[in-house]
């Protein structure tokens, strides 16, 4: 009970941060919107989609997932800022649930991810993207994307607790995250890549969620005969759950060890 109420109080605190410092979230949204515009319109004319279909329709599910991945950076830097400040000492000296700081962060980031998804969907509709396989399937696709965000949140929390200071986060997250998106099916279908690269891209956890979302949204670009491509839906559930299973306990352990 206390775990829940304290976690909720901490989530409320984190959401107030967003309200009080909205410029951060605007900055944060500008990146995926920029990707939609640059890849959709500038490069998009030269891009081909396996089979037949609009590149922008192919691209949008990828951008949704990419945004969730970049959310890792926001989570990690918020946690790193907290851990480096005296305020964590106050939280830890209060008779509150130990887990509340982390679960509150995870809950607030999920709320934030829902806002991001809404914005991205509206953006997508404006550039001509749509879901074609029914609302139920579309909601399932959104759920898978949010599941990946939860996994990224826990990876981000762990990361934020491991780095020595918040500045490190920005320096490390982008060089890690960018190749992850480039070496996936976000921008280009793996079957159009050289074989070895295509294999890496197909097995990328991001690709599973993207492929599953494309399928559920009824967007073009399904494809490939590789095992991961044929089992995208299963992998889109298993990959994030596996990441959570590893990162969440590690983050909690690390948080406890702040007191050593």
């Amino acid at each position: 009970m206390r775990t829940l109420t304290d976690g909720w109080l901490m989530a409320g605190r984190n959401m107030r941060h967003v309200v009080r410092a909205p410029e951060e979230i605007i900055l944060y949204f500008s990146l995926p919107i920029m990707f939609v515009l640059v890849f959709g319109y500038v490069f998009g004319s030269g891009m081909t989609v396996p089979g037949d279909g609009s590149y922008r329709e192919f691209l949008l599910p990828g951008v949704f997932v990419m945004t969730m991945l970049y959310g890792l950076g926001a989570t990690a830097s918020a946690v790193a800022v907290d851990a480096g400040r005296g305020v964590v000492d106050r939280f830890r000296s209060l008779p509150m649930a130990r887990s509340a700081l982390l679960s509150g962060r995870a809950a607030a980031d999920l709320v934030r991810a829902c806002l991001e998804m809404t914005t991205l969907v509206v953006c997508g509709l404006l550039v001509g993207w749509q879901w074609r396989a029914g609302t139920g399937a579309a909601l399932a696709a959104v759920a898978l994307i949010l599941l990946l965000r939860v996994a990224m949140t826990w990876v981000g929390i762990l990361f934020g607790l491991l780095v020595p200071n918040p500045d490190t986060v920005a320096v490390v997250v982008f060089p890690l995250a960018f190749p992850l998106t480039a070496l996936s099916n976000v921008f280009v279908a793996p079957e159009l890549m050289p074989d070895w690269l295509g294999a890496i891209a197909a097995w990328n956890p991001l690709s599973a969620t993207v492929a599953a979302a494309r399928d559920l949204f009824g967007n073009p670009g399904l494809g490939g005969d590789s095992w991961p491509a044929r089992h995208a839906l299963e992998l889109a559930v298993v990959w994030p759950l596996a990441l959570i299973a590893v990162a969440a306990p590690a983050a909690v352990r690390r948080y406890r060890r702040l007191g050593r």
Partner: protein
């Protein structure tokens, strides 16, 4: 002990970080309802001691109780009884002053309405009403410290830990904080404060201990600590720096002690045992040698001197034993 008369008890606490020993058998007993000052230079182990007693840090050996609860065995009970105001203001910098106080009230299980009302009271009491809706990150140092203290008092604690509460504060903010601490003690709170400023300990604390290299090297009332350092000091300022060696010789003969010479201040100073006899002897000798004197006085040692003597890198033999 879990009796009501000892609010904080530390018994032989040891804490090491790798090969560095932060606390090396730290002992402490703070009577309930008093202000206790822990003095020591940077790196002496003050903050480590506070972090251990407030359950933030585990320790390797020894025993500690706060408000009657065992720190290692019942940390949650301890947390319910204490508040900590750390060296760096422990408030949320993005949230406003009011939002901070409401949040900490809610985390201390006040209802939403009581938390809001309590926040108003504290904002008013600490002169923060006008700044209540601004982000705490934009507060001045003094305001931030006041907010920090207010956050510690949302639910009045039985034991309040103040870790270097006035470091970096201007004199006015410092006096305000001292007043707040005195009011708290009048209401029955026990306060343990760490400080590098002897004046602060002298002003606020009923008892003090001096720690150095993770051990208590002296303990008692501020008065007693000053007395323990012993000797009064004779200070003599000559008009002409050229007379310093001769003056020093005179002082050393009269006091039978080693004099310290400060050429910049043209000052000779030495410990004295018998004030009147020494003063008479010195004045007579100076008169005979014809050294022109600007000033001469005998004074009690300052707490600063006591502090430096106790922590000035002396070892074993010169340590003052721990008094009860």
């Amino acid at each position: 002990m879990t009796d009501d008369t000892t609010a904080v008890l530390a018994d032989g606490i040891r804490k090491t970080y790798g090969r560095t020993t932060a606390l090396d058998g730290f002992d402490l007993a703070v009577p309930a309802g008093t202000v206790y000052g822990v003095l020591g230079p940077n790196g002496a182990g003050k903050t480590t001691a506070v972090r251990i007693l407030t359950t933030l840090l585990r320790f390797d050996a020894g025993r500690a109780t706060v408000a009657g609860y065992d720190v290692a065995a019942a940390p949650d009970r301890v947390r319910q009884a204490i508040s900590l105001t750390g060296q760096y203001a422990a408030v949320d910098e993005v949230l406003s002053g009011r939002q901070n106080l409401v949040l900490f009230g809610r985390l201390r299980r006040l209802s939403a309405r009581r938390a809001r009302r309590r926040a108003e009271e504290l904002l008013d009491r600490f002169g923060l009403t006008e700044a209540a809706d601004r982000s705490a990150g934009g507060y001045s140092g003094g305001m931030r410290r006041r907010l920090d203290l207010a956050a510690s008092l949302v639910v009045p604690p039985r034991v309040l830990f103040l870790d270097e509460p006035t470091t970096g504060l201007d004199p006015r903010s410092r006096n305000g904080l001292w007043t707040a601490v005195r009011e708290l003690v009048a209401d029955g709170t026990t306060v343990l404060l760490t400080t590098q400023y002897l004046q602060e300990a002298d002003h606020l604390a009923d008892r003090v201990c001096v720690i150095d290299a993770g051990r208590v090297v002296a303990e008692g009332t501020p008065e007693r600590l000053k007395a323990r350092i012993g000797a009064d000091r004779l200070e003599l300022v000559v008009r002409d720096a050229a007379d310093l060696p001769a003056a020093a010789a005179v002082v050393e003969r009269a006091t039978a002690a080693t004099a310290t010479v400060d050429p910049g201040l043209r000052r000779v100073d030495a410990p004295v045992a018998d004030r009147i006899a020494v003063l008479t002897a010195v004045l007579r000798a100076l008169d005979e040698t014809g050294i022109a004197v600007e000033d001469v006085l005998v004074r009690r040692p300052t707490l600063d001197e006591a502090f430096l003597r106790l922590t000035g890198g002396h070892t074993g033999a010169q340590r003052v034993g721990v008094a009860s």
